[in-house]
């Protein structure tokens, strides 16, 4: 077989395995360079039938990321292609097929993410409103094996960087302890565990998140110890589905991310597949919900308990109270008031990923009344029922 035919075969094999090609140019500046541009360059050379150039590029990639297994795999293929035609990505004889499959999945995930980077005109639907002190927000797309970091730019999320991630071996929608699944939902970073307190397995550090949240508990989901964490020192990255439920980043990516994480504050929203909204749609969606919250606040102040309670879903529950018990309690309290003043400050609104139209709303509530005043951090889950936003859960945060 001549060299030309061989290289064509190789290109076909690799591209077939990945079934995509990186876009030629990036639309926006990309603050996280990562290995993807180099990897995409390698595949571009292969596409062009320039195997020597591809080998040079993959060697540069390995120099920059010595433990990047995927790069070693591609290098092996390129070397092997000098002697014989190769039929797929990863031609190691007698290799464990599952590991090859893992690396192929990683290749596809990385190249796809590089090609389909988010456009500046679209925002993740989940980031409806950030609290002024929340400087950053994290959104994870498990299907894309990608974590997106957004900055709070005067109330509007602005894309900062994205990173390759691994998630649960058994996928998503965590339900039970030990099910090796990654939870889907709205969480926040609860702590920082430095490298010194961890084994090498967690790499450069770990950030536990608030799974299970109120909604998870209400649905009987359990388990604990869902973290964002780094990677063991013997590898640059792990396969897309590798963890026991945690979200795993390359150590250098975790380090970069860590600088932006605020303990107890930074939201971490994990989705199967991010929904993107245009800026106009995003504005309309947040406006509608903000209006509903404002109406609830005003109706509470009005002492018209019927109007106030109309904001609550019939499925509402808070602690042990169902909606009737809640209504009875509120009626009783409100009957003893001459006036109520409620302020809702620093509102954050994060939409829960998934089919249900559910938004986690958190704010500082300043409650004053003729006989009682109280300031607290409040959390509500708002759900859209028959086109109207209703409260389905309420409690302290």
């Amino acid at each position: 077989m001549d060299a030309k035919a061989r290289t064509r075969l190789l290109a076909a094999a690799l591209l077939c395995a990945c079934s995509i090609l990186p876009a030629a140019s990036a639309e926006r500046t990309y603050s996280d360079s990562g290995p993807e541009p180099l990897l995409a360059g390698v595949f571009a050379e292969i596409e062009q039938n320039r195997l020597d150039a591809a080998l040079q590029r993959v060697e540069a990639l390995i120099k920059a990321y010595p433990n990047f297994r995927l790069a070693h795999l591609v290098k092996g293929d390129l070397l092997l292609a000098r002697g014989r035609p190769i039929s797929t990505l990863g031609n190691a004889a007698n290799a464990p097929q599952d590991r090859l499959a893992d690396l192929r999945e990683e290749a596809v995930a990385r190249l796809k993410a590089y090609r389909d980077r988010p456009s500046a005109d679209y925002l993740p639907r989940y980031l409806l409103q950030m609290h002024p002190e929340q400087k950053f927000a994290v959104v994870v797309d498990t299907r894309k094996s990608r974590l997106y970091l957004y900055q709070n730019a005067n109330g509007q999320p602005r894309f900062v960087a994205d990173y390759y991630i691994s998630h649960g071996k058994a996928g998503t929608d965590k339900l039970r302890e030990g099910d090796k699944k990654t939870p889907i939902g709205v969480y926040h970073v609860t702590a920082s565990l430095p490298r010194q307190k961890l084994t090498d397995f967690y790499g450069s550090g770990a950030f536990p998140i608030s799974y299970p949240n109120e909604w998870d508990k209400r649905h009987g989901r359990n388990g604990h110890g869902i973290w964002l964490h780094g990677t063991p020192s013997d590898t640059f990255s792990r396969p897309p589905k590798a963890s026991d439920g945690c979200v795993v980043l390359a150590n250098r990516d975790l380090d970069a991310l860590a600088k932006n994480l605020q303990i107890g504050l930074t939201p971490v929203i994990i989705s199967n597949s991010i929904e993107w909204l245009s800026l106009d749609d995003w504005q309309a969606e947040r406006r509608a919900l903000l209006d509903s919250i404002e109406a609830w606040r005003q109706d509470w102040e009005s002492l018209d308990t019927g109007k106030y309670l109309a904001h609550y879903s019939i499925r509402f529950r808070s602690g042990n109270l169902n909606v009737e018990q809640w209504a009875a309690q509120k009626r009783q309290i409100n009957a003893g008031k001459q006036w109520i003043k409620v302020a809702a400050l620093n509102i954050s609104m994060f939409r829960n990923p998934g089919q249900e139209e559910l938004v986690v709303v958190t704010f500082d509530q300043d409650y004053r009344s003729s006989n009682l005043s109280n300031a607290m951090k409040k959390r509500q889950y708002w759900i859209k029922e028959d086109g109207a936003w209703k409260i389905i859960y309420e409690g302290g945060a």
Partner: protein, 360 residues
């Protein structure tokens, strides 16, 4: 490693290298004394007396320190003595002083490969090929180096323990690389001075003896054929004009190739050798009976052999045909694949192999 340095193999292994060079280089040495010393050294080395062999070589070098043949021999002896680092120095210097010679590069590559410095081995082989683009041994060794670098990369990619079975087959491949076949033609034509023709009386150790004893894995043995330019197989398209006649001939050729592989797999030496034409071009240019004896010896080794033919492409042109295919060879721990090209000729209605080579 222990297996490799089994004494039997060791004593004979490098002679082929020496022989390859002797033919060409000794011609340039006017001093009979020098030649005598080197002859003695070569003989001693064959007998496994490395110490005295080295001594003789040093004597020769004392008389003529720059002498390429003596230095080459010294490198071989040091290699045999397990003094790889010193051998590398000798061969490296040789490549600096005689950059036109491919053999020192090739041997340097073998030494680097033994040390698992595949990048360096690759560079050395590329130099060998740059000096002599048709140097089949270097091409073949380079193919091996690529495969081993690939396997190393895969190990890293897949986190395979390199002490596993795949490491074993690598060991077998080292022997493979060490056994460089003689290239009398190439050596003679390359020697710089005009004395080449006079070179023939070179007191080289018998060129025939050297080919046989090397215990080396099978496929490369069959593979080490000089890439003769005349063999250039016509593209399948070229054979197209007479579709009908070609089609029937094509089937016969395909059958001949498959029968040949089957005979090899069955260790049917008689049928295997019968697949070759009388005027078959032996890989090292050795005599037919020497070649046959060696083939028989190898095929008769205890390990079962399995030879597979894949992607067989045949082009027939009258009484001549070319066959290109992928040869999968397996015996014991060794497993290889190579692209192969054959020229077959029709003699008395039977298609016989006239040339056989590894397609690079």
């Amino acid at each position: 490693m222990a297996e490799k340095y089994n004494t039997m193999r060791l004593s004979r292994l490098p002679v082929s290298l020496a022989a390859a060079l002797c033919a060409g280089l000794l011609a340039t040495l006017p001093l009979p004394v020098l030649a005598d010393n080197l002859q003695d050294a070569s003989r001693l080395m064959k007998q496994g007396q490395f110490g005295p062999a080295l001594e003789k070589t040093e004597q020769a070098l004392a008389a003529k320190p720059k002498d390429a043949q003596a230095r080459f021999l010294k490198g071989l002896i040091l290699t045999e003595m397990g003094k790889q680092a010193e051998a590398i120095v000798v061969f490296t210097k040789l490549t600096e002083d005689y950059p036109e010679l491919p053999e020192p590069y090739n041997n340097l590559a073998v030494l680097y490969a033994q040390q698992r410095q595949f990048e360096k081995a690759k560079n050395a082989l590329e130099m060998a090929i740059r000096t002599h683009p048709s140097y089949a041994t270097a091409h073949e060794n380079l193919g091996d180096i690529y495969a081993r670098m690939a396997s190393q990369a895969y190990d890293k990619a897949l986190q395979l323990d390199s002490s596993n079975a795949s490491a074993q087959s690598k060991l077998a491949m080292i022997r493979d690389i060490m056994s460089t076949s003689a290239r009398p033609a190439a050596v003679a034509s390359r020697t710089t001075s005009g004395k080449v023709q006079a070179a023939t009386p070179a007191p080289a150790p018998a060129a025939k003896a050297e080919v046989t004893p090397v215990s080396r894995p099978e496929p490369s043995a069959a593979a080490k054929v000089e890439p003769a330019p005349s063999v250039q197989a016509p593209e399948p398209k070229a054979a197209a004009p007479e579709p009908k006649a070609a089609a029937s001939g094509k089937q016969d050729v395909e059958k001949a190739v498959r029968d040949w592989a089957a005979a090899w797999s069955k260790k049917d030496v008689k049928a295997y050798l019968a697949a070759y034409a009388k005027d078959f071009q032996t890989p090292g240019g050795e005599a037919r009976d020497t070649w046959e004896a060696e083939r028989a010896r190898r095929i008769n080794r205890p390990d079962p052999i399995q030879v597979g033919v894949e992607n067989l492409q045949v082009a027939v042109e009258g009484e001549r045909a070319t066959a290109k295919f992928r040869q999968h060879y397996r015996s014991g721990k060794l497993k290889t694949s190579a692209s192969k090209a054959m020229v077959l000729v029709r003699r008395d209605g039977k298609w016989l192999i006239q040339e056989e080579r590894v397609a690079n």
